[in-house]
Symmetry: C3
């Protein structure tokens, strides 16, 4: 056994102080990403390779060949596993080496760690447990918006040079629309800032609701749906530790109750998986689902394009915000009224970190 | 109040050892830079945003929104102040938050630090005091070359990956012309190296004078001015801690006294503001003023273009010099005769740092 | 004498623990690199400038002007030495300053360190000794493949963001051909992995030999040489601490003995100088010599082009391997059968480092 001494890198999760809530499912990939190539990704400081074998099953392994440490994500996908791109060792989905070219005997320690993953409704989740609880205690969350057939949707993956909680802050406070998204979905800043807002929370979730009754529908809405005149609009943001659901939409004024989860009208439903890469960098997995009545493909294309542009704008602001936080060092921040939801989410994260 | 713990960055000037002479006006910007956009800049380790409101007044604020720490220089300029690009907080020139969108009451601590600035003769100066002396003790320096009407001029701003004193060294020793500026203003290296040089200094300035009597005027000179034949040329370099003035020119041979500050002939007068960004990086603000008799615009354009090219050449050499100093670590340097002025400037800097 | 305090950089070799085998000749350059310009290079943590004066002699000096520390490799080559690009100090091949422009007297301490170099058979070697043994104890190694006239050859220099021993590992194990070089010289992975291999070693060298008798000649071989049918192929890899020789080739089946160093047939002889730049980065100097009977220039061009492409592929894999080692930190590696040669080379390096 050869040990090459190099300086220690990321400590293993077992010995590190918990920088993130543990005993959670985090998004590791969108299912659509895993086709003919492996995907290498650092998730909560663990370097992981994700891949889908010919049977359709997704696996997650330590992204390091046990022979000479090349990332397995640099290798090639075969029907039953992943082959290292240096000397050709072949691994199956459990992390076992099942072939060493030019050698009959495979040593029993020729294997890499595998991690608990579940693909559900088009989202690939990975369990991040504690030393005491390495295995999942429950199923990964469903997301029927993807599977019910009521919506068309698409999505993407964005890398952030910023800690994950700054993305929570951003998503939990849609009042930034009027300033950050002037060129895309912003609209009138004042309307957003002044909308009535309710905030509810429990030990592991926060819900922020805003209603804008009797308002003019934006152009995307009227193109997509036969609104008669003014509309009642809503924004619902649910924070669920490793992901957020943002449901916006509108019904004809004075028809369905905005509180009714079965309300009709035009919907835009965002899924936002926010997975720490490290303490200071993040992955952001998003999908946007919508239910246009008219011009389905055109509306979908517009919604997806606008959403992608919007997230690019958020990325710029959040990364600049973090750079400036580093530049200035720790200093107090003052709170304003729109911070209520984000601040509750921060308290939940602190409590979950302390509990792990 | 939310405090997000991140690793400490730049220490505040009050607690840091004085890496730079304090109780000084340093150049923060050229006045012409401040038009329809704010300018964010780190100056002596302080992150500052500079902007000009509709009344023409220039302000300098801490470049960090007191709400969620985005740089205010990422925001938008309004007639009476600067609006943050994240949630729209609006600040006036004194650093007071005067509007929080969607909120009537503005907390009294919603404000950012403001810094003493003065714009004078087209140069924006910022005062860097000590804890004992945060406010300016005197007016920012005049620069009548810009305002007298005798000269045409233009300028620029260059960022250096090198400590400020290496730029002083470079400017105080014009003997490098023959080696660094071969392709631009270099001319004959030997003439520059062998010109008689006098060096005078006091507690806060150094003056290096070189005379090259009865020499052939360079092409730029003859295009600009009706010289009859040979000329008496001079180079005067004044070091004034935060900036240097370099006055070169020529008169018809044997006419005006080269020592006479009212001498005629053709002049090129360089202003060089050298402002540390950090201990290892710098800002360099320059203008070049000239008084052509013929072809005013053409000569000005040529002089500005040549000057900009020359400073690009200096930047390359100085940044390479600094990289090589880091590569080799601290080692002795030997002095040669041309270093007299630069070495006196270094002693002045040391004395002023010790005094602060 | 002016001392500018900057943070210490690379420690001198005398005080550092020996990170590399010392009392060795390492390749500093290919002779063909040194024409009308100096070459600056860090070799075993020493920053060196290499240049050839008009008399054809190659010199190696400390790459730092003794005046203001600009790299001399930024200067200009003159017939008798190297002139600094800042203030024009001129140095001869022994490191003595022989001219200071504008100054008659040259101080005795105006000089830079010079290092022992030898150019032999088109390769420039530099001696890296210990404090006790700074001067070479023997001549630099010959390489008659370059000078015998039997071969045509060319070469190149590649920079690696990886420690030198990972390049040794790669060269000592040609079984990676089938996975890394699929698109170039790979051929059938299984044949390479299963070829009989012998490994011999002594205190300062390792020899790995593989024979592939009675096999189909690759297309390059048949274009270059009038093979009748199948061939007996060989691969010989010699590790010699600072460089490796890789000799591959083929003879008509059943003719010359593959062990005979005077065997005929078609040859490809690689020279591989692996010189640490720092503990974590390397220089790789290669030449490839061949002896085509037909189409000499075309075969040479093909061989050189293929070789360069192959080394680009190796660079990608080795740099990715090192990045992944840093990402994962020190963890055990398992060995497989093809590692025998590389592991012996690692033991030799350890012994030589301990001895220095």
């Amino acid at each position: 056994m050869t040990v090459i001494a190099i300086k220690p890198a990321t400590p293993d999760v077992a010995t590190a102080p918990p920088a993130f809530p543990l005993n959670q499912w985090y998004v590791a990939a969108l299912g659509a990403e895993l086709k003919d190539k492996p995907v290498g990704r650092v998730l909560l400081n663990r370097s992981v390779v994700l891949f889908r074998t010919a049977d359709g099953v997704v696996s997650a392994l330590e992204d390091r060949c046990c022979h000479r440490a090349l990332a397995l994500s640099q290798g090639t996908l075969e029907s039953c596993g992943l082959r290292c791109g240096y000397h050709g060792l072949l691994y199956n989905g459990t992390g076992l080496c099942i072939e060493i070219p030019g050698q009959d005997k495979i040593p029993s320690r020729a294997k890499v760690k595998s991690y608990p993953v579940q693909e559900r409704d088009g989202i690939v989740w990975m369990w991040f447990g504690t030393e005491q609880q390495p295995e999942p205690t429950h199923e990964a969350p469903p997301y029927t918006v993807h599977s019910s057939g009521e919506y068309v949707f698409d999505g993407g993956v964005v890398h952030y040079q910023a800690p994950y909680q700054l993305i929570h802050d951003n998503l939990l406070d849609l009042s930034h629309l009027g300033y950050v998204h002037l060129r895309t979905i912003g609209g009138n800043a004042k309307i957003h800032m002044n909308a009535k807002m309710t905030v509810e929370s429990d030990a592991s979730s926060v819900k922020v609701v805003r209603h804008m009754p009797n308002s003019l529908p934006p152009p995307t809405y009227t193109a997509a749906y036969p609104f008669k005149a003014n509309v009642d609009r809503w924004q619902e943001i649910e924070f669920k530790v490793s992901h957020l659901l943002v449901w916006t939409g509108a019904v004809n004024v004075g028809t369905d109750a905005l509180e009714d989860p079965k309300r009709g009208g035009f919907h835009m439903r965002g899924f936002h998986g926010v997975t720490p890469e490290t303490e200071t960098t993040s992955h952001y997995f998003w999908t946007m689902a919508t239910n246009p009545v008219n011009d389905v493909e055109a509306v979908k294309a517009t919604v997806i394009e606008q959403t992608a542009l919007t997230f690019d704008e958020d990325k710029v602001v959040i990364e600049e915000q973090y750079k400036n936080m580093l530049r200035h060092g720790p200093k107090p921040m003052i709170d304003i009224h729109v911070d209520a939801g984000a601040n509750r989410a921060r308290r939940i994260i602190e409590q979950l970190k302390a509990a792990a």
